[in-house]
Subunit: 437 residues, 2 copies
């Protein structure tokens, strides 16, 4: 059980900093192995992809069976219960509605000098989504990655999902169908990332790769970055709950354990100004953990990284939260909006006792792919913005160039870039001759 | 001189693909050296920073002289001519006006189920801008990095600029002043990046680092990524000009050489459906290069990477441009807006004969930090967005949870995440009891 920290204790700052800087993840150094896989994939294409799939996933494929056929997809989807199908459809619909509001506007304006300036947004042409196999093969993650891409206007949307021993999660295929994914390949690992980035005879390359994965997938994404775009490299997940004294301690315990059950490296933090609430939640967690299916994982996470902090007041809680910059921030207090305004750095905020973080993982609408490991200080969750890019536009009239061009010539000369200056000056000379004529 | 390619030649596709995949940059592998510098900086702080500055910049500093004093800054700025000062002020003002339009709106809406959803944007708290020393110490780049940060609302803005032998570019300091930079340190290289990311006794750490630099700076940015945010890792620069037959060939030649003079690895490309224009521009470049101050650099770039392509028509030119996804795209044609609509992937588009790319480097307003090496397929130039991040917000009423919560429970069970389901189900149970009571 974690020891409760009190902000009025003399050693609090020291212990808080130690908690902040604790490294929760041992990332195995698989860079060289991954480099070799990528090089092999680039050299041998489909043949390499098929070899690695036989070795790592115990599955014999041919170029013709790399891709799921429509009939296979329909056959798998037919196994899904009506209740699950309806739930996934609701999730897809709500995620689509939320993300549709994220599409930004183009801009164009003409200034006093006669320069017409602006920008426009266009979609990435092709995107690849990685979906892990096995236990962590989450249909919700397919929706959270694929729907923003579709809303953005991505033309070609590809999924790679490994199927160890040939086993596939039908709900993953249904999620792909609900998001209108164009192509689904039963390959995974670094070899799948390499195939998406460089292409093979069967899989055409994409421009952007998103989605979670193990250490090999993460290393491969880092290595192909630049050739293609990637989303963030996700670290272990965390939740921070700020609660006042008037909450249901069992609900908070469940919310903390919903985070802890993800991964032994996950972190669950409770901050409250009420020492009684702190004790009640700690006791409730202790009762809850042994009853959980994933008791071992959740227990390890809570034992190693679980944190309870008792503060002087809610303002102090908000200030500590900003130093942590949590991925998920639950505000279980009487006036959550007011407290939200006192925080600044968080991936997602869940306001009030009836907005448990888990509802956000599935159906509330906002994305569940969020910045981990304090990176909410400088980055955002996945969104439509990850699948579009901006082109700036400028058109100068001769008058506008006459007005602002001389300053460009001066600055180009200052920077020692003569041809820059010449390219502007030559046009100015012509304009001066014209106006003199 | 580059050979002109004709799209109707039988080997065109092969030659175009070879041009596309040519690697223009030999990036030295300095990763290990940089790792050692970062580790030393983390261990020894200011002392390491001072040692490396003595060794690499031949400059003896103390903790008290790491930072430029206000008096030093004013003394340097006093050396600047009125013409240069006015030009830089115009640039700053126009860049600020353009970027002020980029600040996105927050969003909040309540859906039919009673869920209030949305997001808000907040600024990164502290940003560090790297400015190279020596020849590539460009005041325009200071403005292009610092002004978007200020417009975004960054509270603390720090610049690191090496001053080899103690020599500083006064215009860099003026640019910092015009952008209201808070602190300027005379340090550079990997050690400056490490200081910004991890902090020293003198330099407090920042959350985001942007700005160009040499191979050591680029490697250091890659290594501290995750601890802090970074902007793109810039590669060699390129321009693509699409011109019809009715253009001034000398202007186009100057525009091509304005790109080529940056760097022997820069690339300048002309695409035109008019073979006579192709020949005229080639001849004009041949006359221009020997007259340039940077003839050697521009000549090498043009010889090794310069490309002229004659197409069947402008539509074909636009299609080739999209395959290249150039950093800068100049459309010197009768109807540049129409042609712009036929292209999709470019960092910045310059429309018409009176909008030379060089004017965009300094004073037109849009940012000159743009995606290189075909990355405009999936990324955007620097903007206010690089200094803000989005927090998603959700608040469910009990009624909203009752409406959508059951689907979350179903999906949590499908994914084997029991505590996720429990945290929602416990609240639903209470709501059912209440409504039953």
């Amino acid at each position: 059980m974690p020891v409760t920290l009190y902000t009025d204790a003399p050693d609090f700052e020291q212990r808080f900093v130690a908690m902040l800087s604790a490294k929760r993840e041992d990332s195995a150094d698989v860079g060289e192995t991954v480099s070799a896989i990528i090089a092999d994939l680039r050299a041998r294409g489909d043949a390499a992809l098929i070899d690695y799939t036989a070795r790592f996933d115990r599955l014999e494929l041919t170029p013709d069976t790399l891709r799921f056929s429509d009939a296979e997809i329909e056959a798998e989807i037919a196994k899904i219960s009506a209740q699950e199908r309806t739930a996934l459809e609701l999730a897809a619909e709500r995620i689509r509605a939320y993300h549709s509001r994220q599409v930004p506007q183009d801009e164009s304006f003409t200034d006093a000098d006669g320069a017409t300036l602006g920008w426009r947004w266009t979609a990435v042409s092709a995107a690849g989504l990685y979906v892990p196999g096995g236990q962590a093969s989450y249909p919700s993650s397919v929706l959270m990655n694929a729907i923003p891409a579709r809303v953005a206007g991505v033309e070609r949307l590809v999924v790679c999902v490994p199927t160890p021993g040939g086993v596939v999660n039908p709900l993953v295929l249904l999620a792909c169908k609900l998001a209108n994914v164009d192509e689904i390949y039963r390959v995974g690992g670094a070899q799948a990332i390499a195939a998406l980035a460089y292409g093979t005879s069967t899989i055409a390359p994409v421009d952007k790769i998103t989605g979670p994965g193990n250490a090999y997938v993460a290393a491969a994404k880092r290595q192909v970055f630049g050739k293609v775009g990637i989303d963030m490299i996700a670290g272990p997940s965390e939740v921070l709950i700020i609660a006042d004294g008037d909450q249901n301690a069992d609900w908070l315990a469940m919310d903390l354990m919903a985070q802890a059950e993800h991964d032994a490296d996950a972190q669950s933090i409770l901050i409250t100004p009420d020492p009684t609430m702190a004790d009640s939640v700690a006791a409730s967690v202790a009762r809850l953990v042994p009853t959980l299916e994933r008791a071992e994982i959740a227990g390890a996470s809570w034992r190693d990284y679980g944190t309870i902090i008792v503060t002087r007041d809610l303002d102090e809680a908000a200030a500590l939260s900003d130093r942590i910059a949590p991925e998920h921030l639950e505000l279980c207090v009487a006036d959550p909006e007011a407290l939200a305004r006192k925080t600044r750095h968080a991936g997602a905020i869940f306001l009030g006792a009836y907005t448990p973080e888990a509802v956000g993982d599935y159906v509330s609408g906002p994305n569940h792919v969020l910045p981990t490991a304090r990176s909410a200080r400088f980055s955002s969750g996945l969104s439509v913005m990850d699948f579009i890019k901006r082109t700036t536009l400028a058109r100068l009239t001769p008058g506008a160039l006459a007005a602002i061009g001389p300053a460009a010539v001066t600055l180009a000369q200052s920077e020692g870039l003569q041809a820059h200056g010449l390219s502007v000056a030559a046009r100015l000379t012509q304009l001066n001759e014209r106006s003199g004529a």
